[in-house]
């Protein structure tokens, strides 16, 4: 599993579970639908925390801190409460893992206004190329010659490193004297020093070029021969192989006749068939039968193999992986053949729902640019989490202790957004629930303006912290002596806002059952709801994506307040915080209401540990 802490976002495909279908259709996930539903007044009390307290009624929700907002929610928004009551995301659900991805792996469909995970997209091959020589292989060659490189790229059958061509008689004097090295040549693995001369009989090439052709000649395999024979046969049967037989009805009938002919011939194979054309097919049928038959095990041959194994030892035999990578499945290392490099593809991706293209790479093999690239990173706010106190050990969280983390929401959009984070009061799906509190569940995140704006902004005083939209009384209900200032945001910068999240893990016994269920893994589901004002949809006039965000930016730059509409969308994400450790003496179960030591509002730099420099990723850095 990935290192802690991690944040995975749930793709909406998770909600296609049949039992929840009816409920889910009511959820205003799509920003296209929701804005038209009603006009939200500026602070929306309904949107927020009905999820937490509504979740497990009774003993599991003891301090209904959000009760007050709940009642408003009930009146205001029937749909949402109904949906949220039953529909808490459970990260321990066995289906959940299939739709949880880091935000980097997710795409975003502009037409459906939905997150699309790798399961929700359809791949289309743009081009084939050899990952070793980086030459593009035309699709016609792929069809005729298969999915392996037909140039000089071969892999070591022992260790899978790339083979190089070297002369067999490799002496320093010969290389000094001659301009061109002289044959015969070996294929040599510079990783494990295997050469084709290790084979029995040794395999040596005459020329250092066109290795595929030479190898095909030197190592004829029964399978390949049979395949070429069959291919030739069908090419003949088709007559003109170049003909596009799938489009012409006449050719199609002929093709069908070919197959049905074989099928009908099955009952009477061997018997003489009338007609010259039919005779050919009958013969072929017999050949096919031969290749399909059961493999004959000759006792003497097997005994011979066993004897060789006994004399050569196990070290001389191929392991399963090596064996299965070869078409003839050799038993001994001396029978291995160099394997040609498998081709790789560049693929474009389409939304499965609306068939719009989400990703389209440039067809040139060596470029890494994309013509179209609608990634979720550019559309939905990304969350990062880091420790507020550097003493917290993520893999050994202390039970009953309040751990504080900083949850940062970064806005990729060019409009400021207001975010509501909802979380169940106790982690769902487990007997050993941890208590979770997000101290300021509703806040604003600034627009992702240009870096230049940021530079100019830095001279001005930063915007004052947002006044909490949730009445602080709700917090006193939960916390009693809780510092009301904690309900404000912790830190706010250009396009990100940080809030504090408190986690109190329970005491989890170390039994076999809890180990099997991995109860000590602490994952927190968070429902993120985003609202912002965007300019009115461009009515699909833009031809394909990519330009979407640019257009938004242009509109924002023009400062056109007209024609703006409210957009809201929401998604579940799962924060993998860490692992709960063994109980510590002196830390006993209590209400987690100790006042926060860090003064509120003071921006605290991320704790810098010496190890952080090792982590290359920006994300990881932020989480540290």
């Amino acid at each position: 599993m990935s290192s802690f802490p991690y944040i995975h976002i749930s793709c909406p495909c998770n909600e296609d579970r049949p039992q929840l279908m009816a409920v889910d259709s009511a959820r205003p996930l799509s920003p296209t639908k929701s804005p038209t539903k009603r006009d939200f007044p500026a602070p929306i009390p309904s949107s927020a925390p009905q999820t937490p307290s509504k979740r497990r009624g009774g003993p599991m929700a003891p301090s209904a801190s959000f009760e007050s907002t709940d009642t408003i929610a009930d009146i205001e928004d029937d749909n949402d409460t109904e949906e949220d009551e039953e529909n808490n995301f459970d990260p321990r659900d066995q289906r959940a893992a299939f739709s949880l991805f880091p935000i980097e792996n997710l795409l975003y469909c502009e037409d459906c206004h939905q997150i699309r995970c790798p399961r929700c997209v359809q791949d289309e091959i743009v081009c084939w190329y050899c990952p070793s020589c980086l030459f593009e292989v035309p699709s016609s060659t792929v069809k005729s010659d298969g999915n392996r490189c037909t140039r000089n790229c071969y892999l070591c059958p022992i260790c899978t490193a790339l083979l190089v061509v070297i002369p067999v008689n490799h002496t320093s004097s010969s290389t000094l004297a001659t301009e061109q090295p002289v044959g015969p040549f070996n294929l040599f693995c510079s990783h494990c020093h295997w050469t084709t001369s290790d084979l029995i009989p040794p395999l040596q090439l005459e020329k250092p070029t066109s290795i595929s052709a030479q190898l095909a000649k030197l190592t004829p395999s029964a399978q390949d021969a049979e395949f070429t024979r069959l291919k030739q046969h069908y090419a003949q049967q088709l007559g003109n192989a170049q003909e596009d037989f799938t489009n012409s009805p006449a050719a199609l009938t002929r093709l069908m006749g070919l197959y049905t002919g074989i099928g009908s011939g099955g009952g009477s194979h061997g018997s003489g068939m009338g007609g010259v054309g039919r005779k050919g097919r009958g013969v072929k049928k017999l050949e096919m039968k031969e290749i399909d038959r059961l493999r004959e095990v000759i006792e003497e041959k097997e005994l011979d193999t066993i004897e060789r194994m006994a004399t050569l030892g196990l070290d001389a035999t191929a392991n399963t992986k090596q064996r299965l990578s070869q078409p003839h499945e050799p038993r001994f290392l001396t029978e291995m053949r160099p394997t040609a490099v498998l081709l790789r593809t560049k693929r474009s991706k389409r939304c499965r729902a609306c068939r719009h293209i989400l990703v389209k790479p440039e067809s040139k093999v060596q470029t890494t640019r994309f013509r179209i690239r609608l990634v979720a990173l550019n559309y939905i706010p990304s969350l990062t989490i880091k420790r507020l106190e550097p003493t917290i050990q993520l893999t050994n969280l202390t039970p009953h202790k309040t751990h504080r983390f900083l949850l940062t929401v970064t806005n990729p959009l060019f409009d400021p957004i207001s975010v509501s984070l909802l979380t169940p009061r106790y982690t769902p799906g487990t007997e050993y629930a941890s208590r979770i509190t997000i101290l300021c569940p509703e806040f604003e995140v600034g627009a992702n303006t240009d870096v230049w704006d940021d530079a100019l902004m830095s001279t001005k005083p930063p915007p004052p912290p947002v006044v909490p939209t949730t009445p602080s009384s709700s917090f006193t209900g939960a916390g009693g002596t809780k510092d009301p200032r904690m309900s404000t945001v912790y830190e706010q910068k250009r396009n990100y806002t940080s809030v504090v999240i408190e986690v109190v893990p329970p005491e989890i016994p170390d039994t076999r059952e809890t180990r099997i269920r991995d109860e000590r893994l602490l994952e927190v589901p968070i429902f993120v709801r985003v609202e912002f004002e965007a300019e009115v949809d461009r009515d699909d006039e833009e031809g394909g994506g990519g330009g979407g965000s640019a257009a938004a930016k242009a509109a924002a730059a023009a400062g056109n307040p007209l024609g703006r509409e409210k957009v809201e969308y929401s998604y579940w994400c799962v924060v993998g915080i860490g692992r709960v450790g063994d109980p510590v003496e002196g830390v006993v179960a209590s209400e987690p209401n100790t006042p926060v030591r860090t003064p509120v509002g003071t921006p605290v730099k991320a704790p810098r540990t010496p190890g952080m420099s090792k982590t290359p990723l920006r994300q990881r850095l932020a989480r540290e």
Partner: protein
Amino acid sequence: MAQKSEYIQTETGNKVSRKSLIIGSQNIILGGKTIIQAECCIRGDLRRLVPQGQSAAAVAIAVGRYCFLSRGSLLRPPSKIYRGQFSYYPMKLGDHVFVGEGSVIEAAVIGSYVSIGKNCVIGKFTIIKDCVRVEDGTVIAPNSVIPSFSLVEGHPGQVTEELPETAAEILELKELYKGV
């Protein structure tokens, strides 16, 4: 304070640790905003040998912008015998290349947005294209080619996964530079 004085900052914003070992600095080009941590070693002295009278190729190691060489890493130009003569060949690193602790790099070309983990060995004349992630402890065999958007791991290094389209964003090191 101690952190500040650890690095020497150049005009183009490179930060080179005083405890690093840089040999043949006249043959090394740093693109700017590159960080070289303590105990790193860069062998700029190993450059191509040319017959007398000809001007030697001046650059042995070229490093792009926003690269990060972690503690104890080694950059050494690759060498081989070509037509009876032993020679070193230049090494080129693109932008946003991260080299983990204790890794040894003898590659010919490393593209942009490449992250190499801890204790890796990148074999001689390896070519790594853009947007590649090499996991900790990987040994990439000499003369290998790693195509774009690959995740490489193992011994010898094999492409085990494809990176998502956002690889360039994930592997960007601008934030890392700001943090030092």
